[in-house]
């Protein structure tokens, strides 16, 4: 990557005053946040507070109304999704957005088709075995179980060889054994220099994997800090846990 001395001092992701309204719905209403290099940041908040929308804005899937997004030192707000992806940002979708008619293996290969192609077959094989999907490698993606689809969604992001990965509730509905595999994969990727922003409702998972928690409510970031500090702050816990999840 373009790791100039100046860029490496900067966080991998920096968001300032990010707005996106859908008609009258203020999905994000002035989001400010940063994700450090090699950090695993957790993003929590009640349903509908704008977490997934933030992912879509950062990844270019949806264009923001206004605001600044810097990824790896570059301004990317409003850039097309494929260009942002090529800069080294990968994401998963909360509702699995798989290539339904393609096999599991082809889904992984397609994720590598633009970019890091050499060795893609080997990496796809490794990813299949990491995620325990070998036995369904030739199955159509839409024939997978819900949990397996989540795994494949995660596997595709891994195949991108990104520097920042945005994970949207990637372990929701996944068997605890497999969840452990994902958590281990996240930790080992971080060792290799990858940063993560992780949307998660499971507080146990947040506690075990995240370095820092960012709390959103009603389209804004309300606070961020270490898990223990956030938990101690009863007001935040009310925001987050006081509502039906």
């Amino acid at each position: 990557m373009s790791a100039s001395a100046q860029a490496s001092a900067e966080p991998i992701l920096l968001v300032r005053g990010l707005y996106k309204h859908f008609g009258g719905i203020k999905a994000t209403n002035g989001v400010d946040l940063a994700v450090g290099r090699q950090e695993i940041a957790g993003l929590i908040g009640p349903n509908g507070c704008g977490k997934s929308t933030l992912f879509s804005l950062v990844s270019g899937t949806v264009a923001p109304d206004k605001g600044e997004i810097r990824f790896d030192g570059r301004a990317i707000a409003g850039m097309s999704a494929h260009r942002i992806a090529r800069l080294g940002l990968a994401r998963t979708f909360q509702i699995p957005a798989l290539f339904d008619n393609m096999s599991v293996t082809e889904n992984l290969l397609a994720a590598a088709a633009e970019g890091h192609w050499p060795g893609a077959w080997e990496r796809a094989a490794e990813t299949l075995s990491l995620l325990k999907l070998e036995h369904v490698a030739d199955n159509r993606a839409s024939d997978l179980s819900g949990g397996q689809q989540k795994l494949l969604e995660f596997g595709r992001a891994v195949m991108r060889q990104a520097t920042l990965i945005l994970l949207d509730e990637v372990t929701a509905g996944v068997h605890p054994n497999i969840r452990k595999i994902i958590l281990e994969a996240i930790a080992s990727l971080r060792e290799r220099g990858v940063s993560f922003l992780v949307i998660e409702h499971d507080m146990e998972m947040v506690r075990s994997v995240c370095d820092r928690i960012i709390v959103m409510d009603s389209g804004r970031v309300v606070t961020s800090g270490a898990f223990e500090d956030i938990v101690r702050n009863s007001e935040v816990m009310q925001t987050y846990l006081g509502r039906p999840q």
Binding site: T61, A81, H82, A97, D100, A110, E114, R140
Partner: protein, 328 residues
């Protein structure tokens, strides 16, 4: 290159070899009538494959594909006549270039939109070309335009055979065994996800569309020289596109061999009906029945009966037509 894991592919290769040998030997084993039927069958198999490149692999329904068949035909007719008098083989690349330019002009703005807009734009383009070719002098107007006759049935049989073989080879290499094919199928199945994987979906769609159009123009060029006379309806007509669509749906949308199966089957039925009744009105009913058959019982076409892992490209293409598409 994406080398597939080696399964047992010998039976398939053997079948392909047998078919190839039979096709090469055909001109010495059948009479001229059936040789012409075989030439036509190869043309339709190739045209159906060209339509399937975009419709099946990318999920964008082209309702005006005859426009590109007709452009190839008219460019060849125009350039072979006075004052140019160019040799046939030179006119083919000329037609391909003209076709590519038109495909870019039509596709670049419309492929970004929902599939329905693209479908309407392509349909309208073919209609405009019919009107244009009917009104202009240099196209021979509504009466059409003749070409220097070359009455060698074997030449045209092998020309169509070569073009069809090349078309299927390109489709096999590009859509079934390359990174490009992965990108095309990915955007068919989920455009925002494909974009998130770094795929420039607008560009890949346009490349696929141009390839599909240019391929059709080659068959148009051979067709024009073969029949020695064309008019706007005979090469731009909507019924040409209709047949390609039904052939692909019947054979199997988004499959390699489906268009060949559907193309040959429907064209042979067409000729048999013509032989028995001397007209092809009943053929329209056959096309309608084929669509009903596919929609109700064979969503993956005839080819879908032979594969274990069922694809449903039909659903995706229908989805693009009414709902999702390039917008995000």
């Amino acid at each position: 290159m994406a080398a597939q894991p080696m399964k047992s592919r010998w039976p398939g290769l053997l079948l392909l070899a047998v078919i190839a040998v039979a096709l090469v030997a055909l001109p010495w084993t059948v009479n001229n009538y059936w040789l012409r039927v075989a030439t036509g069958a190869l043309m339709w198999a190739g045209l159906a494959c060209s339509w399937n490149m975009l419709g099946g692999y990318a999920g964008y329904i082209n309702f005006g594909h005859s426009a590109f068949f007709g452009l190839g035909a008219y460019v060849t007719a125009f350039l072979m006549n006075d004052p140019f008098g160019l040799p046939f083989l030179v006119t083919i690349p000329a037609g391909m270039v003209v076709t590519a330019v038109f495909a870019v002009v039509i596709g670049a703005p419309t492929l970004r939109l929902r599939g329905a807009y693209f479908a309407i734009a392509t349909w309208a383009f073919a209609e405009v070309l019919i009107q244009f070719a009917s009104a202009m002098d240099f196209t021979g107007g509504i009466g059409g335009i003749g070409l220097p006759p070359f009455l060698n049935e074997r030449f045209f049989y092998f020309a169509m055979f070569g073009a069809a073989a090349l078309t299927y080879l390109v489709a096999w290499a590009l859509f079934e065994h390359s990174r490009f094919g992965l990108k095309v199928k990915a955007l068919r199945d989920h455009e925002p996800a494909a974009e998130a994987m770094g795929i420039n979906t607008a560009l890949v769609k346009l490349q696929t569309f141009v390839l599909s159009a240019v391929t059709a123009s080659v068959f148009g060029a051979i067709f024009a020289y073969w029949v020695t006379f064309i008019n706007p309806k005979s090469v731009f007509g909507g019924d040409i596109t209709d047949q390609m669509v039904v052939m692909v749906l019947l054979g199997g949308l988004g499959t390699l061999w489906g268009p060949a199966i559907g193309g040959v089957a429907l064209f042979v039925v067409n000729r048999l009906i013509w032989m028995h009744w001397g007209d092809t009105a009943f053929y329209i009913a056959v096309l309608g029945a084929a669509i009903v058959l596919v929609v109700l019982f064979l969503p993956n076409g005839i080819a879908g009966l032979f594969v274990r892992r069922k694809a449903n490209a039909l659903e995706k293409a229908a989805g693009k037509l009414v709902g999702g598409g390039g917008e995000r």
